[in-house]
Symmetry: D3
Subunit: 256 residues, 6 copies
């Protein structure tokens, strides 16, 4: 049985979607990822992670998949032709429109499954707006939490591998090896940034950056050590962690 | 070789996309289509038609596919939970953002391949806005022109079969037979409307309508006669016609 | 007795406007029409057609005239100083504001009588928005349907006479001969466009265009053969057709 | 020779409109004016005053008339069906769009000739926005300055006659006697307001008000004493004063 | 006891704020005031006047102070780096947001105490919008009414002293003598403007202006004669007048 | 010498503000903080921390203070009258307007010093928007990083003390003891939330919440143990950490 909302008919939505259903919106991006990776990276990862999540845990937690939002807020890569990006206000409107639509179903839980770190802050904003404006319980999960939002990055990248680096390239070698040009990959680790105590990815001080602020190639990290085996493990761990999170989301209540 | 823009890397966009390239954005919808069809109908048709078009004619006319915009302006179905819809202003912003992004590449031609009739008027507006604001040549094509925009509808439907009727259901039986519940289909043809000389789909007078203005089921047409064989023929004809249109678009100039 | 809404007092609106009343908003434009016609063409035609319509059919169908919206979405002529134009979003807001106002009266039918083809797509959008947001029955009629929206254009113009051509100039020679400079008129027919099978006015493929994309003069058609006699006939036919449409609008119901 | 901008052709705009031209936009309103006056009052007065102004002083100061903006910001009368009103943001957008259009001509002076007091504050705002954004010299003039913007009001009305009172009704008896129902007029003077030292029309304290805050009839003033003779004098004085203002506007420079 | 709303806890708001409470929002500006005065002038004056007002009259009229809105619509000074300004639409949104918040308390009266003349027109607009949208009684008061809004200006300045002139500089010498550089002050009176009968500050014709339209220094008036003693008197008179206005506002009703 | 930008005159801005200057915008909030704390908490903390920071480190790093933005995005407390809040889009506009203003000075570094956790995500968004749109280097720092953005919270609060809890109350006891009603404080720790592995403040899963989702009192944490001594230490540590961050910001470059 399909767990894609769009595979239901109108009347079936009324029967199948209940207040225990969790609606999952995968959010990708189409944006430059350096010379070794295609624009599709975040799009593919969000899509594949969501598909695997629903395949493994869909029945357990009554998960329902929306079509992946392929294009999102990638303006840190606006300098690179081929990057497609929504402005912050457009993206907020899209999310509000989708949430306003979901709020007419019986479902009360909406999850953003976000594959693009550049969206995370805005999605956090949207979680609150939608909670207030449409009364839904809203959640934000990531297959891979970006280092600039508190996630981990390998030591070899000095903790600064956040875009097209070792981990992301490894995962992509696992998911779409045909689209990876590892021979074009080079190391692009902002060592000066890593030296900072506060102003760095994951540091106490956040800062606005564009992906060409650091290197002209556009990736930030070291893809040269990437490999499919590690990618497979990372991906499977990510899906398992997403499943754990869905389990909590399914029963989450504020306790009041 | 892939003809999806997102499968290119940033540097490859600079090499592969030229001023002879045609960028194709498939536009679908997630909206009720009566009790016999899933919400995904327009989404699937736009996606499949675009894929077939690019597979057959991509090299001939240098076509490049963007990810399908799955959710669009479906507010005539807002009454039916499960329908996901962008407001008119959100949708204009999304299209403007995408066009603004494409305008930084070398491509000068942007085609909206639209599977949802409810978008057609707005896409016509967007074609002009983008031509003026971003200098692109813009085009709007349909796999199936809706009857309320001048397209044909079988006589048995009195020319009023515009949503989930004989043709659309036939095409879907061809593309996704597993998702069609023909046993739930009934005839829903607004005969009184067809009797009008002017105020009807395709008539001299346009009018605002919501899909539950006519029948509570939400489809408009007669799906009971639908069959996969006719759907196959319709689909193949549509793809061939799209191919013909691309041939003209590829060499189109205003002649000035 | 006046049939202009604005000639009523507030209390009279409560008495005279009922749920059988039809509110008619004429929509014109102030935009270049080539060297032989004034900017006022669409403004005048919409205004005169609406006045004639209400004079002849106002009592029969309880028609009420709003002041003509003289300035509208003419951005295809933005290159020509003197053209006055509202952006798409401004125009949508204006229409929404007017509809929101009308919805507080007892009238339930609002007709856009549009003299400028550049508005047609946007007005189609507005018809639906207003139907959903304010509950009005909304209609779009034209004195002359532009060829790029399915209307006719003389064969001598290869079907491409859509702006300041034979028909429009003829009508204007009938309505305001003093404002026509026929001696400055020349033939401006985009023959290459007419040769296309699909990408042309009224073809299967819509496209974004600006009026100086074709010829530097700004009109599109052949005004050199225009004459007042034919204009008179065209105008009278148009008014009669508008009357017929009002008759259907007056009794129109969705049939549910 | 016509002095309506819209009567020019595109090429004529290039010849006739120069940097000494003054563009005049009459701004009216369609809004309730009590039981004795039609909705059209401000619309008619702005239109007639502008027409008289241009007829008498057009050649002297190179004045060019735009079509009257009939519907404007009348939300203080939103409670009364028949009132048509633009929101503040819509109205700002309309004015910006018109100014942006005018700025492409050679003219550098744009005058708002405003017949509706409810617009005055917003037009003051627009004057500055347009000066900064489009570089035009902008001016705001009134045929009759409303008492709540520093204008005069007869003593018999305690200085509070600002809407449908003695003066406005008199002027309308002069311009459109057929549309006045003096027999329905009654005195509606907010005496308590007039007793205030500061919080009153023209007082030190401005305040937000709706026209039904004072009396249910909707006018504010005493129309019972109105007469056409006084209206004629008021109107002619107004036109003469507008002429004087145009003379100064024509040569106005900031002196830097 | 504090009369700052922000010094209350949430539950105390429910107890202390009643329908007789008057909420006062001081509105300043950060904008150039010529070479002799700091950017803070309007900010300080609004803040100090509001503080004095509440100190003297707070208990009598149940006044409650909001934090001063320090940055507002100063776009006439946009040319001068250091000026901080909100656009007209941003400012309208800020005021609407604040009013929407206040409307959830028991208070029904909201007063804008405005120190910057460039805001006055927009605040007049906001007074009406808020009255209609949130049902509050709204008021606009000034410590000093600018000459271009009907206030007085000394004869020595030809009535044109509206920004950084004799009076404002005097008041600032009283409030913050340490921040005044009188030795840098020069006379900047637009004499040509004063010669006009209509097009001048306080004249019949309003006009759009930027502060560098007149003089490159940016102030408009004659600060060279300013002195603290006169400033003290002006300030104390202003506070007394504000107190009188609050007394009327406290009991103000429309009389219906 | 003052280090408030607003204390400079226009010409002084040109002299004193250089490309080594750091502009600091303190951002507070006026929002409910439970029964024991005033609405002003975040406003006061941001203001005082910024003042202390500039007093101690202003000369060392060329810091310049803007007026505190007192009202910000507090919509999680919208349910509590007295809370004043800007919508997300208003707040983005305010920040963009201020950044657009700052970008006309010679300064290239803009720091948001944020006292309200509800702003953090939106400020992260703004940092990027401003970097792209105005070319400024943008930074976000906090006196106290909220636990839901990765900051610490005492164990006694189970790590869930994020609003009006032990730490914030302690700091406020240090800064404004007169405004604290510790006798009204009670423990409000969402123990069920703390039990979660992922869906909790600082957990892997972010979620949208309103402050009354947990407890009707509106605070989240345990203020009963708060004391001024600890508050003093926390505050001084915060200021020292802010100083360290400014040192890095002063020399920060992307390294390209």
């Amino acid at each position: 049985m399909s767990r894609r909302l769009e595979d239901l008919s109108g009347p079936e939505v009324g029967e199948r979607i209940t207040d225990s259903s969790i609606i999952v919106l995968p959010i990708g991006a189409v944006e430059q990822h350096g010379p070794h990776l295609p624009l599709a990276v975040d799009h593919v990862i969000a899509h594949e992670a969501a598909a695997a999540l629903v395949a493994e845990y869909g029945d357990a937690h009554d998960l329902w998949l929306l079509p992946t939002l392929s294009i999102s807020k990638s303006n840190e890569h606006a300098w690179s032709p081929g990057t497609l990006w929504l402005s912050a206000t457009t993206m907020l409107s899209v999310l509000d429109d989708i949430a306003r639509s979901i709020a007419t179903t019986a479902a009360r839980r909406l999850v953003f499954l976000n594959g693009h770190g550049g969206n995370s802050a805005l999605l956090n904003v949207a979680c609150r707006e939608i909670r207030l404006d449409h009364g839904l319980k809203t959640f934000l999960v990531h297959p891979f939490v970006p280092a600039d939002h508190g996630g981990e990055s390998p030591e070899a990248e000095l903790g600064m591998g956040i875009h097209g680096g070792h981990q992301e390239t490894s995962v992509f070698l696992h998911l779409r090896p045909d689209l990876v040009h590892l021979e074009k990959a080079d190391r692009a680790v902002p060592a000066a940034l890593a030296d900072n105590a506060h102003v760095k990815f994951g540091g106490l001080t956040s800062f606005g950056w564009l992906s060409d602020d650091f290197f002209p190639e556009g990736h930030i990290g070291d893809p040269t050590t990437a490999n499919a085996a590690e990618g497979k493990e990372l991906f499977e761990t990510a899906v398992r962690l997403l499943g754990e999170q869905m389990a909590e989301i399914a029963t989450f209540d504020f306790g009041r």
